[in-house]
């Protein structure tokens, strides 16, 4: 599909929504459902928006707005547009920036603002073009290399690709004047999400630590709440410890395919240091299971086997 005339106004449910990569026949009403979005100013012209789990940012320009990402469903994208319109009723979204390729963050530009200019990293754009997902529009402009400065509608920021972290072409947005960094699905408050889907484990921690060479004190993640520099460092420390724990679990004869056994081992060995973390009981076993698998199989694909660059950004 893709008939924009059927999409309705941002505030109404569509009769025929974009379907992402779902292949089952019939309506997908959950894709259309409205998501209440909260929003608040962070610093300067940077605002953050969230529906409670997903989080992103949008920027006020002189003549319009710049939206990062699209939320995870067509209904979420329309609600996001509604939120931005409520804050800036006279300013339309003229630019969308994709943080990375995943549909749950950037899958529905067709529902957010189909005529906006879309920018992403070239590695992200290649995946998006090849995926052909219904509702995920292909970027019009790409950046490459590590750092690129943008000046759009009198807003200034950098897009930084530090190396493989999560997904493809995952870029951080850096606002040096506001000492603010935004990056999706990397540092997230609490333990890691489930089994670290599409995380590139070998280079991950060292690559993320490169951001500590920049001057910022607020980090806006792609999920949940904002963190400071210490929260960012603590989160990376968790990954490092779980990597060591995974190796010891294999050494100690833990069956890496038995989630109950792995979870008990994780709680016993990580509980004292990390038991207070958000979602520890829920996901630490799966976190450890994924790392055990990493050390058994080796990293996954090219991205999971590259050595991290460790020089400052």
């Amino acid at each position: 599909m893709g008939n924009e005339e059927q999409q309705g106004s941002p505030m109404t449910q569509s009769k025929c929504d974009h379907r992402g990569i779902f292949t089952i026949p019939g309506a997908l009403p959950i894709q259309s459902a409205w998501r209440d979005i909260t929003y608040e100013p962070v610093r300067g012209n940077v605002w953050t928006a969230s529906e409670g789990i997903y989080r992103t940012i949008f920027l006020e320009g002189k003549r319009g707005t710049i939206a990062f990402d699209t939320f995870s469903t067509p209904g979420g994208a329309r609600a996001y547009q509604g939120a931005i319109q409520r804050v800036f009723p006279q300013k339309r979204i003229h630019t969308i920036i994709y943080s990375h390729d995943h549909l749950d963050h950037t899958g529905y530009a067709a529902d957010l603002q189909p005529d906006a200019k879309i920018i992403s990293h070239e590695l992200c754009a290649k995946v998006v073009a090849a995926r052909k997902s219904d509702g995920q529009l292909v970027p019009h402009e790409t950046c490459s290399g590590e750092r690129q400065e943008f000046r759009i509608d009198r807003v200034r920021f950098e897009l930084i690709y530090p190396g493989p972290t999560h997904g493809d072409g995952n870029v951080a947005a850096y606002f040096p004047e506001h000492r603010l960094l935004f990056m999706v699905d990397t540092v997230i408050p609490g333990v890691g999400y489930t089994f670290f889907p599409d995380w590139h484990i070998r280079p991950y921690v060292q690559t993320m630590r490169r951001f500590l060479s920049l001057k910022w004190d607020v980090f806006v993640p792609g999920h949940f709440w904002l963190v400071n520099r210490k929260g960012f460092q603590d989160n990376l420390n968790y990954y490092e410890v779980i990597g060591e724990t995974a190796q010891r679990a294999i050494r100690d004869g833990i069956d890496g395919e038995d989630l109950d056994q792995v979870t008990r081992y994780a709680r016993r060995n990580l509980g004292r240091q990390f038991g207070h973390l958000f979602r520890f009981d829920e996901y630490t076993g799966m976190n450890l299971m994924r790392y055990i698998c990493h050390f058994r199989t080796g990293g996954w694909g090219i991205e999971g086997n590259l050595k991290a660059r460790t020089d400052p950004l």
Partner: protein, 302 residues
């Protein structure tokens, strides 16, 4: 090799890792004239006797496993050295320890598997000496003939099927299993998996040797494809019906109920179906992982 310093794969922690040294008991069975399959109870592979040497597929996943494999081959085919190793794919748990199996053997692998292995630099995983390009490579080594097929992204990188048409035998690692023990489907490329595996049914084979667990016949292979396909359908339905798919217990209960009547008799179903569903539903939410997992597969950064 000398036992003084065990090869360590990608392990980085200090201290001895005795499990790497342990030599598992391997069971060898003949599957065809001069073709044997060998298993430690979980992992499985095969080897073929040539005129004057042996072609070994994969290495097992530890130095001890590789040494036990070498000894099992020597017992079965005495006096013939392993002169060729074929890597099924890049993963260390299957192809990580050629240095302990036969350090001077010629090593065949898909070119993309070779690229990943070169980047990884795992201790003990030797680089392929003969990288292969393309979808279909006929191979003739020491009187052994077979084809190495790269049917498309399935699991790992450059995962090859080994086809012995005259024996109606197909070997492929970590794809279809005789049971439901897929766990989190690690490094599986969900977007194209079933299509690619169905495509292999165009080949004439009646025995399928997987990289794990029991040998399958053609009917079991088809059922394995059906199982993954059913999981894909059920996980989409779970999301559409409002099941909180990021809660393991919730999606586990849903897929057990939905798939149990048809697939509940597969070994490991109760333990694994929830994890597998959890992985697959994230495919639909996120859109696949990397360029390999798209409608037009390729490899980023290759």
């Amino acid at each position: 090799m000398a036992r003084g310093r065990e090869r360590r794969g990608i392990f980085t922690i200090e201290g001895p890792l005795p499990f790497l040294m342990r030599e598992p008991k391997l069971q060898v069975e003949s599957v065809s004239n001069r073709v044997w399959t060998v298993s430690d109870g979980t992992y499985r592979t095969l080897f073929v006797e040539g005129h004057g040497s042996v072609v070994a597929f994969d290495t097992f996943g530890t130095p001890g496993g590789a040494r036990a494999y070498r000894k099992a081959i020597a017992r079965t085919v005495p006096g013939k050295p392993i002169q060729t190793i074929v890597y099924s794919h890049d993963h260390v748990d299957h192809a990580g320890f050629a240095a302990d199996l036969a350090p001077h053997a010629e090593i065949l692998a898909d070119e993309m598997a070779a690229r990943v292995i070169a980047l990884r630099q795992a201790d003990g995983q030797l680089k392929p000496t003969r990288p292969l390009r393309g979808k279909r490579n006929p191979v003739e080594i020491d009187g052994v003939t077979f084809e190495l097929l790269n049917p498309g992204p399935t699991h790992g990188t450059g995962n090859l099927a080994s086809y012995f048409p005259d024996r109606k035998l197909l070997f492929m690692s970590d794809t279809i299993l005789a049971n439901a023990r897929y766990g989190l489907l690690p490094d599986y490329h969900v977007a194209n998996f079933v299509r690619v595996m169905h495509g292999l049914l165009e080949l004439e084979f009646d025995t399928f040797i997987p990289g794990r667990y029991e040998v399958l016949n053609r009917t079991q292979f088809e059922r394995g494809c059906d199982y993954i396909e059913a999981l894909q359908e059920a996980t989409q339905q779970a999301f559409v019906q409002g099941i909180p798919v990021w809660i393991l217990d919730a999606i586990t209960a849903y897929v057990k109920d939905r798939l149990g009547p048809r697939f509940g008799n597969l070994d490991g179903f109760d333990q694994h179906v929830g994890l597998s569903a959890f992985r697959i539903v994230h495919h639909y939410l996120m859109g696949g992982w990397g360029l390999e997992d798209t409608a037009s597969p390729g490899l980023n950064l290759a």
